[in-house]
Symmetry: C2
Subunit: 121 residues, 2 copies
């Protein structure tokens, strides 16, 4: 049976992890405006983030891989793939920080862990 | 604000305190032999690891929270819960290291990311 290509099954392209609507309305402090060398890891395949990271690394020399919640393990995968497999030994993990972020409002408010992995030369 | 970590390159711990009697009795394969203050995060509820970590912290003053694959995000949760919520401000994340481990054999062999979070005073 030939493989059918249907547009309805197109994979979701979620660039960021759907912030709460209320957040968008608020005046954003500088920390929310992510610089171009920050990569926010979500639900896309790991290699797509790894390629973005590699491009940023070759252009800017440093990239910050960020993730929240369950995507944290994927962010670690991205950092490991970039440093161990793709980077040809040029790049290394320079810093790792973890934190807790509060997402949602009112009864929906909850704590979510986050990670920031700085990869550079 | 993420916590700044330096020296992520050398996550080697040598703590020889408080051996757990129950663990000592079990025959452990070599690679699984971990010091008593290492907590390997798996599929149990987060709070169960957090409580173990807190006990180790009060006894030994330091604990290493480890995880592989998808459990990595849970290990970060454990570290955040212990430092931010349970520890009453006494403990902090001292070091975070990530790595790639090879699991399985032959055709089943694959790379898995891992994390080690050192929590102490």
């Amino acid at each position: 049976m030939p493989k059918k290509k249907s547009d309805t099954d197109a994979p979701e392209e979620q660039v960021t992890e759907a912030p709460a609507p209320a957040e968008a309305a608020q005046p954003q402090p500088a920390q929310r405006m992510s610089p171009p060398n920050h990569i926010f890891v979500g639900k896309k395949p790991v290699m797509s983030y790894a390629m973005s990271a590699l491009i940023q690394l070759t252009q800017a020399g440093e990239v910050v891989v960020k993730a929240r919640g369950l995507a944290i393990s994927r962010a670690v995968d991205v950092a490991e793939i970039v440093t161990k497999r793709l980077g040809n030994g040029q790049f290394k993990v320079k810093d790792i920080g973890i934190n807790t972020e509060v997402v949602g409002e009112g009864a929906e408010m909850r704590n979510v862990s986050s990670i920031e992995i700085v990869v550079g030369k």
